[in-house]
Amino acid sequence: MLQYVNVMIDGAPVRAEKGTSVLDTAIHVGVCIPHLCHIPGIHDMGACRLCIVEQVKNGRSKVTASCTLLVEEGMVIKSNTDKILKMRKNIAELLVAQAPNSKAIQDVAVRCGVKDVRYPFRNEDCVLCGRCVRICKERAKANALGFIGRGKDRHIDHPPGRLMDYCKNCNGCIMFCPMSVTPCGGPMKKGQERLCGQCDSQLNADAQKMPGVCVWCELGKGFQCSRYLAV
């Protein structure tokens, strides 16, 4: 039998299924917490840190990622305090400066309120969100992809260094890769990177003025935003 717990997300009392994450619960009730590495139904690793929230416990608040935080009875979550919004914006800025050639990341940056990028662009091909690795492991059950190396050398590769025959050619890794859709204006060449920001107008509701309401934006449509998947 399903067990339920009561949690408070952004001031709204929510009945959540025991064992689900705070992020899943929030999305389910329409609180859109921006996220990148999360895929519904797949284990979360907490890599992108965009879904950070404040968990208030005994009067003290702690910042933690909502995708790896499981709901508990009496939990108090704040997903859009000024502090969280500022940090989320900073993280989104880091991501978009790292890999501007992704519609998903450009969308997330707009959604998180990034107005300008204060770091030099890098135009990399991978932000190590690990979506491909986890899809390969958990949905295709192939384990043909993995993280190799540490720190700056960390990258995604086939663990022995070459494509093995246990890859099932399911294309799951490509489908779920945030880099697979380029920004609307087409791929940006080196030196031409910019913050796309064109979807700004689609943010028809200001998250700050309407707390706890998913803006139901068109952003991330090409990128299987959890809301689109759920509908």
């Binding site: 907490g46 840190r49 990622a65 940090m87 993280i91 991501l95 204060r118 030099p120 700056k152």
Partner: protein, 617 residues
């Protein structure tokens, strides 16, 4: 090998060892830890042993090879008892003289005595040396009595008495209450109350629990855990046994890095001996407590010192941290309740159980009790391992124990806690060594590294050094730590190389604050500390780099120029010959000139010039 099945057996071993020791007229203690071996202690030990045999003194003089005694700067050393005489910087060739004169005739050889760098006087007794005088040596003091290869030595110092006492009828709840009352806090960095950790693990459901000793010490310049594990491994084992009994664990791991081969070896030998004596295994000391320990070797990744990364590493997976919303005391190693403590924390446990919480809590401040071992390095006269009571002001450590600045320069700051710690400026040196006081000052105790920096150190350069270290050692799993550190390093490098922009300083601050809060694990969360603390206390150096395009300490190469002071230069030509880039020209007896275009700012000329004629601006 006798099997110890009762507390009385320990007593028998103790009297046996004491009897053996009383037969010797003189004791020579030669430390042989990793640091000692690096300065040549192994050759000295061989030479002394051969010389004792040659002169027929093997019965008269007991030679004991121990772990490091702390004064690493003076190694290799010989400590002679009775008399508490310390000979410093002894070479293997001196063995014959020392054995024939000191061991045979009891003469004291002036030339080997410690020469105080402050007063210049020779000091005979070890306890009179200022380096040792201001210390409160609780753990390090035991090292001289114990040969790490001999379990009997440890038993002779009262070892395994605490576990015998505990197993004779102390309840786990009572142990936890005692450790709580003692106020012992984790020595590994964060200072989490040990008693509370044990209590949570004790209360966590599950019949299989684990205890782990974290010896994955990775801070640059810190080596107290290595030293403790090398010198007195049984003390750590005993602490783990008590902890395991308190939480209900039957299995323990010592996680030690492969780069510490001697610590691995000593820990393994200690475990082997304890097993032979029946002190590890089933039904320890006749009770129904069963416990065994294994050594798990790590590859030497800094991140594996983080609790969850360490546990995944023991499980055989890639050492990466995971979210810690559920604490490891509930779901740790193999998702079982696990207590992870630092080497020094475990080593403190036996004495708490033996002497009581009151005795332990008598030292220290309100919130931090007991003693702490610090690795004092950097620009001070005396360096080495220092054990002080909590609450000792930093000033005492730097000036009294450390002997003050090395080259007559002014001391500017100390960096505590390694890459996760911060820099504390000289004006705050009255701060006590205390978990909370250091935390409030923007630094942390960390594992206890203490690097003293003088005014020839550029704080921007220091921040850059630690960011580089962290960039290499970040596991790379989460964005704020991996990309954030990379971007912070980019900004700090810009500033150090002279193309920093004013808006980059607030950006650096903002980014550092984000990384500190949003990162996945404790290492990422503390990674911006070097940046945040230097921004807090040395913002004028950052602004000097950005606005004035100057490096006040004369370190950042892009911002300094070398010149020759015409008044001081005698035209001796030493700098001209020593310059590897041929950038100095000049005739004999005439003022020399540095070609700024060719100069690579390597600093060789400064160290060669006897007249201080080379200036850096």
């Amino acid at each position: 090998m006798p099997r110890v099945s009762h507390a009385k057996d320990l007593e028998i071993i103790r009297t046996q060892v004491d009897g053996k020791r009383n037969r010797a007229r003189l004791e020579m203690v030669i430390p042989n830890g990793t640091c000692c071996q690096a300065s040549g202690s192994a050759a000295l030990i061989d030479a002394v042993r051969a010389e004792l045999a040659r002169q027929g003194l093997l019965q008269d003089v007991a030679l004991r090879v121990t772990g490091c005694l702390g004064f690493c700067e003076q190694e290799p050393v010989i400590l002679i008892e009775p008399g508490n005489i310390l000979y410093c910087h002894v070479a293997a060739k001196d063995a014959a003289e020392i054995v024939s004169r000191t061991a045979q005739k009891g003469e004291i050889l002036e030339q080997f005595l410690f020469a105080d760098p402050v007063s210049g006087k020779r000091i005979q007794m070890e306890s009179d040396i200022p380096f040792y005088k201001a210390q409160t040596r609780q753990l390090i003091r035991m090292h001289r009595f114990v040969d790490p290869f001999s379990i009997d030595d440890y038993i002779a110092t009262g070892g395994y008495k605490a576990i015998a006492k505990v197993l004779a009828g102390v309840k786990p709840e009572e142990i936890i209450a005692e450790v709580k009352a003692a106020g012992l806090r984790g020595r590994g960095g964060a200072g989490f109350p040990t008693g509370r950790k044990w209590e949570e693990a004790h209360e966590a459901p599950g019949d299989e629990k684990y205890v782990i000793c974290n010896a994955d010490e990775g801070d640059p310049g810190a080596y107290m855990d290595r030293c403790l594990l090398e010198a007195n491994p049984h003390e750590v084992l005993e602490g783990m046994m008590i902890g395991a009994y308190a939480v209900g664990a039957n299995k323990g791991y010592i996680y030690v890095r492969r780069e510490y081969p001697l610590a691995v070896k000593h820990a393994r030998i200690a475990i082997g001996q304890a097993r032979e004596y029946g002190l590890l295994g089933d039904n320890i000391l006749g009770s129904n407590f069963c416990f065994d320990v294994e050594v798990a070797r790590g590859g030497g990744a800094f991140v594996c010192g983080e609790s969850t990364a360490l546990m995944t590493s023991i499980e055989g997976k890639v050492g990466e941290p995971r979210a810690k919303d559920v604490h490891t005391v509930k779901e740790g190693l193999w998702n079982r309740p696990t207590v992870l403590n630092n080497v020094e924390t475990w080593a403190n446990v036996p004495s708490i159980m033996l002497n009581g919480a009151k005795w332990f809590a008598s030292r220290g401040t309100d919130s931090s009790k007991g003693t702490k071992i610090l690795a004092l390095t950097g620009q001070v006269k005396n360096t080495g391992l220092v054990e002080v009571a909590m609450g000792t002001p930093i000033r005492t450590i730097v000036y009294d124990i450390g002997g003050g600045p090395k080259n007559g320069n002014k001391i500017k700051a100390v960096q505590t806690g390694g890459p996760s710690g911060g820099c504390i400026p000289e004006r705050l040196f009255d701060l006590p060594v205390d978990f909370d006081a250091l935390w409030d000052a923007g630094s942390m105790m960390g594992s206890g590294g203490m690097v003293v920096m003088d005014d020839k150190t550029c704080m921007v350069d220091v921040a850059r050094y630690f960011l580089k270290f962290l960039q290499d050692e970040s596991c790379g799993k989460c964005v704020p730590c991996r990309v954030g550190i990379d971007r912070m390093l980019e900004i700090v490098t810009d500033i150090a190389e002279g193309h920093g922009r004013p808006e980059q300083i607030p950006l650096l601050q903002e980014l550092a604050e984000t990384v500190a809060e949003a990162s996945l694990c404790g290492l990422g969360k503390s990674a911006p500390n070097p940046v945040l603390s230097t921004l807090r206390y040395f913002i004028d150096e950052y602004t000097a780099h950005v606005h004035g395009r100057q490096c006040p300490a004369g370190v950042c190469k892009a911002l300094i120029t070398y010149a020759i002071d015409a008044e001081k230069c005698t035209g001796c030509g030493v700098c001209l010959k020593s310059c590897p880039h041929d950038s100095i020209t000049g005739e004999k007896k005439k003022v020399h000139i540095i070609d700024a275009g060719l100069c690579q700012k390597c600093g060789i000329c400064i160290s060669e010039c006897k007249f201080d004629a080379i200036t850096v601006k």
